[in-house]
């Protein structure tokens, strides 16, 4: 029997949730035995090459590229698990949602205290740069998410226990200490 296929993805956030995945320490050896990795920043596979059983995503959706790749994940993954505060709520990047996007960009590139001198700044607008959305969105506002694991980041134990339960087809009954919003 072929191994279940897992993919991981990263959107707008700090990569801390992926650090937390790696924080499962020596259990990573078990993980390699248990599953096959497809698209993931860990193995640097850029595109989906087959259907995926479990997709794990971190980060909020702040630009068109994020949204596009999240939809790719939804298309290829049977089960999609959003992990971490940014994927679940927008997290710290969504603090910009309190300020209109135009003002954010003007502050960063035109008027901010670190802009060298007046009238020299420009707001980047290269076609290669993803276009920012008006707000940072939680993943579930863009596609359907099947499971949520809160935390900033969720602890390695939280991710491990959830992943093992999903691989075994068991319900997710995580201990009290494993569910935290921070």
């Amino acid at each position: 029997m072929s191994k279940p296929v897992v993919a991981t993805g990263h959107f707008t956030g700090c990569f801390g949730c992926h650090m937390s995945i790696l924080d499962i320490d020596e259990r990573i050896l078990d993980l390699v035995e248990l599953v096959e990795f497809n698209k993931s920043p860990i193995n640097d596979i850029k595109h989906f090459t087959k259907p995926v059983d479990i997709g794990i995503i971190e980060g909020g959706i702040s630009n068109d590229e994020n949204a596009e790749i999240l939809m790719e994940f939804r298309k290829h993954c049977k089960i999609l698990v959003a992990i971490g505060a940014c994927a679940l709520t927008g997290g710290v990047p969504s603090m910009r949602n309190l300020v209109p996007l135009k003002e954010c960009l003007e502050e960063a590139y035109l008027n901010g205290p670190t802009v060298k001198s007046e009238n020299t700044g420009i707001i980047p607008n290269d076609p290669d740069i993803p276009v920012l959305l008006d707000k940072v969105y939680p993943c579930h506002e863009v596609v359907k998410i099947d499971y949520f694991l809160p935390g900033c980041p969720p602890s390695a134990d939280t991710i491990w226990n959830a992943l093992v339960a999903l691989l075994k087809g068991e319900p997710l009954n995580l201990d009290y200490e494993l569910i935290k919003y921070d």
Partner: protein, 238 residues
């Protein structure tokens, strides 16, 4: 002193109480936790948040304001009531701007702890991202309305415990907010950091400055044990 005792049940468990108590007081004394947000033992009940709603003989009531009575049948820890409570907590999360990862009160926040206890993995209603005002004018404390849940504990504590009347509510409905009793922010009120009003905020709305992040993660109030376990582990009074 009255020796009268009333007997009733909460989720089928027999509870005895003095007749002048509210349901939540009798439940606390009996070691039964009814989830609550705006209620605090030392303050007169506010009846604002509705998290402590229970059913008495099949009808929903505030357990913080409803008196005990002989023979009443109280439902508390049922999936129906807990899902209502979860909805309330979820709405409070999306109405405010609660950024738990960067909040200094995370881990001892009652809103967060209620979400954990009631099994809310994440709010899924759309966030409002409303503009809320921060008042950092006071040298020792600040008021961050982004984190306010309008429980009114500070309002009641300032009046009843501090005898000062520093806080109030203004506006209505979604525009309701905590106001302070001065024209120019908290600095012109007689609030001090040692006031009782400063210790009753369930979230990180009303906070003493320069004390953030003092308790390490893992040792904070709700890191290991759910909110309410302090009531449930209390010795049951005879």
């Amino acid at each position: 002193m009255s020796t009268n005792v009333v007997t009733f049940t909460i989720d089928g468990v027999e509870v005895k109480s003095a007749p002048d108590k509210t349901i939540i007081q009798a439940a606390d004394d009996a070691g039964i936790y009814i989830p609550r947000l705006c209620y605090l033992k030392d303050l007169p009940p506010g009846g604002h948040c509705r998290v402590c709603t229970v059913k008495v003989n099949g009808r929903p009531v505030n357990s913080c304001t409803y008196p005990v009575a002989e023979g009443i049948v109280v439902e508390n820890d049922t999936e129906e009531l807990n899902s209502f409570r979860r909805n309330i907590i979820e709405m409070l999360f999306v109405e405010g701007n609660h950024f738990c990862p960067s909040c200094e009160v995370a881990g001892k926040c009652e809103l967060q702890a209620l979400a954990y206890r009631l099994g809310l993995l994440t709010p899924q209603m759309p966030y409002l991202y409303a503009q809320k005002e921060l008042d950092a004018t006071h040298p020792d404390v600040y008021l961050d309305r982004n984190r306010c849940v309008l429980c009114g504990r500070c309002v009641r504590a300032s009046i009843h415990l501090d005898k000062k009347n520093v806080f109030g509510f203004e506006n209505r409905g979604i525009n309701m907010r905590i106001s302070v009793n001065s024209n120019d922010g908290l600095k012109d009120t007689d609030l001090t950091k040692d006031d009782k009003a400063m210790s009753v905020c369930p979230t990180g709305c009303l906070v003493v400055k320069r004390q953030g992040y003092l308790t390490p993660v893992g040792k904070r109030l709700y890191d290991k044990k759910p909110i309410g376990s302090e009531i449930e582990t209390k010795t049951v009074k005879s």
